[in-house]
Amino acid sequence: MTSDATSSSRNDSPSIRVGLFVTCLVDLMRPNVGFAAVKLLEDAGCLVEVPELQSCCGQPAYNSGDFSDTQRIARQVIAAFEAYDYVVAPSGSCAGMIKEHYPRLFATDAGWRNRAQQLAGRCYELVSFLHDVLAVEDLSIARKGSVTYHDSCSGLRELGIHGQPRAFLGRVSGLELREMTDSNVCCGFGGTFCVKYPKISEHLVSNKVANIADTGADALLGGDLGCLLNIAGRIKREGRATKVYHVAEVLAGMADVPAIGDADTPDDTP
């Protein structure tokens, strides 16, 4: 174990060393997702470490056109994670940033491009990592109720995440998955887009919430916290009861905490 990372593992035999890229939103807004990710990875036999020198993947700077700061942030991420067997993030957009965009960022810098490509080859979003790389079969999880699933855009289109979460949800005993119309259409988050163009974002997110409501599902699940915060915020604003969780929380059996936007002892006075 390196001295500037913290780690844990369930067994003593040589394990796959995973560096967990927590993501800023999980770190700040919903740590439970991070702990769910750790549990899922450890249960699958991984040695999980959480490098201290991490914060953000650089998407805000990147999508705002500030490529130099993005490069600085990317170098920090690459340096912190390149020693691990895999870097795994509970987010399609952050994993996509590292996997698809870091190499492009360093197109004219052979040294960093190489390192970025190396890391990209070992970078995965959490659920697809469990399914495609670790071939996890049985989660031994039960949860009664109905859920619907939102396909976040980066995860779907950059990383091909679609079947994997559904495969796992199908193995959760007692859980019914109901597909919504347009599950793969953007929810209107888009990073800074949702605050720069609130009215257009409102149009997209209210369409999404209407589609969710049409399924009658108890809960909405997804793999990206940005989307989930956006959708949960709109569900609450519209006074609807659908609960919103990150799919990792359900799969880890850690979804008995208040849903996104809910409180411990809910006080629903408007």
Partner: protein, 475 residues
């Protein structure tokens, strides 16, 4: 047309609450989107054809000067004329010159995006010519004095009753006094009114989906027949086309045709695909006696080989805008110029200036559906990001966002400081919202909270909790 892209935000807000427009946009989802999906499903070779089409375009662009010259040579060998225009103004002058020399009075037009790009209608009208759009959608917006809102279906934003009123008002002078309220009646009346224009036109102007270097042919892909009446009846035929439209051989066009109609409307083949090569031949009984091709640059050559190169592959199918959730919500007029949706958000800033069209690259969630459906695999989100990069480098972004971004970048590059500062902040926010779990209002976050609640942070940050656990397990 004069760009109104600087009014984007205001126009978008208006569009979002316009019930007629919203209803019209619904037709795009049930029509174009669904039809494309069905057509693609029926063709197992679709993806391979897309790759092939992309390869043809890339090869051509790498040798663009060669193919343009080969095209020009063949056009002239068959008795046609070729003109080159660097700017819209030069292109307008060329077209007006041809019309004047022909002693023209009436000019019929089939749909040409390049025609809109150079604002040829206004130029023709100012110079005293009568210019009549003949594509039904273009005719409708010409009567309404509006710009197109979609590159394939320019009048998609108009309702049937709006069209009824337009025809009732403008066709009275031709003796049509009855209000046509149903689609067959409306289409039939337009047919009859425009027939007389077709037959009496002195000049016909069309665009070109493709320019074929092998044969010096221009190709149009239509459904109504207006393009063919425009390129066959008048004695003079003018084609206006961008330089990126050239394609090497008829075989190459055949490949591109297969992906074009399916991507645009879900058709396997449009009703009329027409190759025009030179003027009429010696003993032909009909056809124009003059054939002119105007090749427009207008910044296209400057896109070759740089970060916007891929945009030159565009075959103007419209799939990107059909599938864009932002376009679906706001329609085409908010974009403020002739090219709309994702492709318009790349082309408009490049052609009219980022200072005029600054919102366009930013009003995008980068969701990538456009790139997914593009038959030419154009990386539209990447190019929009490159335009944002130019804005950032030119300091065209707002001070507030620059400061906020700089502050965030400063913090995240110092993870220990970040952990202390942000960890503290979220713990406070969590405590503030401990009863409700969310905020209805949040200082500095009006953009978020005007439209949705802000879920509260759960409590102490993950990193802080993780450290505590580790310290706990070590002691």
């Amino acid at each position: 047309m004069k760009p109104t892209s600087s009014q984007f935000k205001k126009s978008a807000r208006v569009a979002l609450v316009d019930p007629d427009l919203q209803r019209a946009m619904g037709f795009i989802r049930s029509g174009f989107v669904e039809n494309r999906r069905a057509a693609v499903e029926k063709l197992p070779e679709f993806d391979e054809l897309r790759r092939s089409a992309r390869g043809i375009k890339e090869h051509t662009l790498q040798n663009l000067d060669f193919y343009l010259q080969a095209f020009e040579k063949r056009v002239k060998a068959d008795g046609g004329q070729v003109y080159w225009a660097s700017t819209p103004e030069e292109a307008r002058d060329i077209v007006l010159g041809i019309c004047r020399r022909a002693g023209a009075k009436r000019v019929t037009k089939a749909k040409s995006m390049v025609g809109e790009e150079i604002a040829i209608n206004e130029a023709l009208e100012s110079a005293g010519f009568e210019a009549i759009e003949t594509d039904l959608g273009e005719y409708i917006i010409q009567l309404a004095e509006e710009p197109p809102s979609h590159i394939i279906a320019p009048a998609v934003h108009k309702t049937k009753s709006q069209i009824t009123e337009l025809f009732h008002k403008h066709h009275a002078r031709y003796g049509y006094t009855e209000r046509q309220t149903e689609v067959p009646g409306l289409v039939d009346e337009a047919r009859q009114v425009l027939r007389e224009k077709f037959l009496s036109a002195d000049v016909g102007i069309t665009g070109a989906n493709f320019l074929v270097a092998e044969t010096g042919s221009t190709v149009i892909v239509t459904n109504e027949g207006n393009g063919d009446l425009t390129n066959t009846l008048p004695p003079v035929h003018i084609v206006t086309a961008g330089i990126e439209k050239v394609v090497p051989t008829r075989e190459d066009v055949s490949t591109l045709l297969r992906v074009l109609a399916r991507s645009a409307t879900g058709q396997e083949m449009s009703v009329y695909t027409t190759f025009s090569t030179g003027p009429r031949r010696q003993n032909d009984l009909d056809g124009p006696t003059e054939f002119h091709v105007v090749l427009l640059d207008n910044g296209r050559s400057q896109m070759l080989g740089n970060e916007f190169h891929e945009m030159l592959r565009c075959i103007r199918c419209g799939a990107c805008m059909n599938h864009c959730p932002v376009y679906q919500g706001i329609g085409g007029h908010a974009y403020g110029w002739v090219y709309v949706g994702p492709m318009g958000s790349v082309l408009t800033p490049l052609m009219v200036g980022l200072d005029q069209a600054g919102d366009l690259p930013n009003a995008c969630t980068l969701n990538g559906r456009c790139e997914e459906v593009c038959p030419m695999g154009i990386g539209l989100p990447g190019m929009l990001r490159q335009l944002r990069r130019r804005q950032y480098q030119n300091r065209q972004t707002s001070t507030v966002s620059r400061v906020a971004l700089a502050a965030w970048s400063f913090l995240v590059r110092r993870p220990r400081l970040y952990r202390r500062v942000m960890g503290g902040a979220v713990a406070s926010l969590a405590w503030l919202a401990r009863r409700r779990g969310r905020f209805r209002h949040m200082l500095f976050a009006g953009g978020w909270t005007s439209v949705r609640d802000l879920p509260a942070p759960q409590g102490s940050s993950f990193q802080n909790q993780w450290r505590k656990r580790r310290q706990g397990s070590q002691s």
